[in-house]
Each structure stands twice: as structure tokens, then as C-alpha cells.
Amino acid sequence: MTVVVLEEDSTITMATARAPTASDSTHSDNSSSNPSGGGAEGGGDDVPDNSNFECNICLDTAKDAVISMCGHLFCWPCLHQWLETRPNHQTCPVCKAAISRDKVIPLYGRGSGNQQDPRDKLPPRPSGQRTEPEPQGGFMPGLGLGEAGGFQFHFGIGAFPFGIFTTFNNWGGAAAVPPAPGTQQYQEERFLSQVLMAMGLLFLFWLIFV
């Protein structure tokens, strides 16, 4: 079923992941004065003028306001709870554009003395998660061929005579993660690969000339 009635005044924009992430934005963290955001709070019953600044989730005047890349205003606590409800399917509650924690912009009005990033307040901001990059492939610089980087030397002989030398790379099962250059292991493996290369070449010569 695909019958959806959206608010008429909500422009349906499909703003998907294209913006610079706001994760590295810095804010002056003078957490001294009044902690309340946005003056008139609670939103009286008959204040139609304020409706432009109502959170799209709680329908109250937005507190700790953030705005999505598609231009929709929310209280950060409300939006956070929405994102938590659907961690695998984070869409804007108004227009269903893709949104995420890092793609909302905190709004700072003049009245709010505390210029702390609202995203840092209620749920403590998760610390950055960093994984080591995949190491560059190729540790076979033997005979000067592999110095360029990704060169890998595979040497295989099928049936004749015993199939001794299959792929050099998997020798000892250590090929999955090449050691970083400069370590002792790197030196050893480099030496080993050169020895094997020499043996392979000798074997070839033996095949051809004997």
C-alpha cells in the first residue's frame, strides 16, 4: 500500500546523503549561563504564529532545535528518540529523506545563552569509532619487481613432476595480512620470498636445460 497524505506545507525534497558531515563542527562551550533554550516554552494553546517553529514530532515549540538537510525542524530529544526507534531505517519523519545524526544542524537562537550543541546534551554524544584502514596489498618486492607496490608473484606448476611449488604467496599461511614494512617479520618474509624466487628460477632452468 502506498497511500500517504503528507502535510501540505511540507515540501517534499529528496535530499539524500550529499552534505558535508557536521561531525567535526566545533562550538564554543561556555556552559555558564541559563540552560533553557528558546524563550516561550510550552507553546500556549492559541499561538498560531509560532507554528512555523514547532517541532514536527512533539508539535511543541522546538527545544534544543535541530534541522535536517531536507529542512525540517525538530527538538533534538524527539528526533533522537525517532532515530533510536528505527536504527536501520533512519528517515525524516516528515518527508522520508535519508537522515542521520551527523546530517542535522543544530540551531542557535539569540535568546539561548547556552551555545552547546544540542546533540551533545541529552544522549551523550557517542565517541568516534575508528577502524584501521586495510593495509595495502603486496609484500613481494623480490628481485626489484615488487617495489612499485601491489605486485604479487604467483608461481605454479601443474602436474610435472610433483607439483612442489604451488602459489608462493600462501607459504605458511601468512599471506592474509602482509606485515608492515620495516618490521622484522617483513624482512624475514622478504628474504624468504627471494629465496623461493631463486629456487623457482633454478627449477625453471633445470627444466629447460637438463
Binding site: M1, T2, V3, V4, V5, L6, E7, S10, D45, N56, I57, C58, L59, D60, H72, C78, Q81, W82, T85, H89, T91, C92, P93, V94, K96
Partner: protein, 199 residues
């Protein structure tokens, strides 16, 4: 109930009451009890459909986690529609399930349901029997849906031939609604309906 849920339902309640659609009597909500946990919705059948002139009652249950999860809505008034169970009134509509968004309100839900009445989705049915009739014998579906609107949802005029067949079954001691269901699901073939009822 969580504070945000009550606050929101109160606001939405007023929004529906004040809305243009409510002025035109297209949608309405009423409180059931006084804690905003359960509401009674009402939608008018859209024009140029077999539901024109009808008024459908809906049961709306507001969960604790509203508005982060959708309200539970079902038809109280019996209706003949591919996406609504003719037995339980359960509704198959994506925005009441996984496509719910926190910015949707009672008003948009009621309007979506009204739109559903005007644009059925027989390929994603809730009631397979109705959906089959919708696809294979559309004119009979329209007549049946109109007759259900007449019997259950306050439309003044109804098909007299259908009324005769229902009365025929009623004379055999079958309840009116039971007779209506049997005849509707047997494409108004009286013999097959009798067979279905008494086998």
C-alpha cells in the same frame, strides 16, 4: 501514558476538530473515555466510489510510544474493501505499519484511510476474497461494496435484488450479516451461498 503522547494527541485532536475536512464532515474524532488512550474516528466515504454517502467508524488506539510508533486503527463499521478485513475490520496500510513517520497525525491518518477507500490496492490485500472479486468481477465488487455501505454505513439506497437474496437466506434462519457475507463471497450465487453456510 508518556507525557509526549498525551500532549500530542491533545493537539492533534484539536487540529482535526478545527480542520477544513472536519468542517465539511469528511473526518471527525471523538474521545472514548477521558485519557486520550482510545479515540473514535469517523470518515466519510469519498465521492465517486461505492462508499459515497457512507460514514465509517474507526477504533483508534494510541500506544504508549506514540508518536514514535503508529496508532492502532481498525474499522468498526463493516466494509467491503480489498485492503480491509470484512470480518475483523483490520486494515492493511503501510503507514500504519513500517511506513509510519512521527510527523504523521490523526488527521493525516484519517485522510490516508479515506484515500485508501478511493484507491484500493488489490495486489496487497487484507481480505483475499474481496480482492479476488475486485480483480475478476469488478462491477459486482462495486455493487457489493455499495450494498455493504447501505446495510452497515448509512447509505439510504441499496440494490433491491441483493436485498431479496439476503431475505431469502434470512428466511432459512441465517443471520442478516452472515447471509450478507456468504452471498458477497459467493458472487451473489444463492445456491453456492447456501452450500457454504450449511456444509
Amino acid at each position: 501514558m508518556a507525557n509526549i503522547a498525551i500532549q500530542r494527541i491533545k493537539r492533534e485532536f484539536k487540529e482535526v476538530i478545527k480542520s477544513d475536512e472536519a468542517q465539511k464532515c469528511a473526518i471527525n474524532v471523538e474521545l472514548v473515555g477521558d485519557d486520550y488512550r482510545e479515540l473514535r474516528g469517523e470518515i466519510a466515504g469519498p465521492p465517486d466510489t461505492p462508499y459515497e454517502g457512507a460514514t465509517f467508524q474507526l477504533e483508534i488506539k494510541v500506544p504508549e510510544t506514540y508518536p514514535f510508533n503508529p496508532p492502532k486503527v481498525k474499522f468498526v463499521t463493516k466494509i467491503w474493501h480489498p485492503n480491509i478485513s470484512s470480518v475483523t475490520g483490520a486494515i492493511c496500510l503501510d503507514i500504519l505499519k513500517d511506513q509510519w513517520a512521527a510527523a504523521m497525525t490523526l488527521r493525516t491518518v484519517l485522510l490516508s484511510l479515506q484515500a485508501l477507500l478511493a484507491a484500493a490496492e488489490p495486489d496487497d490485500p487484507q481480505d483475499a476474497v474481496v480482492a479476488k472479486q475486485f480483480k475478476e468481477n469488478h462491477s459486482l465488487f462495486l455493487q457489493t461494496a455499495q450494498y455493504w455501505s447501505h446495510v452497515h454505513a448509512g447509505v439510504p439506497k441499496g440494490n433491491s435484488e441483493f436485498a431479496k437474496k439476503v431475505r431469502c437466506l434470512q428466511d432459512m434462519g441465517v443471520g442478516e450479516h452472515q447471509a450478507l457475507v456468504a452471498l458477497s463471497s459467493c458472487n451473489w450465487d444463492v445456491d453456492r451461498a447456501i452450500e457454504q453456510l450449511f456444509s
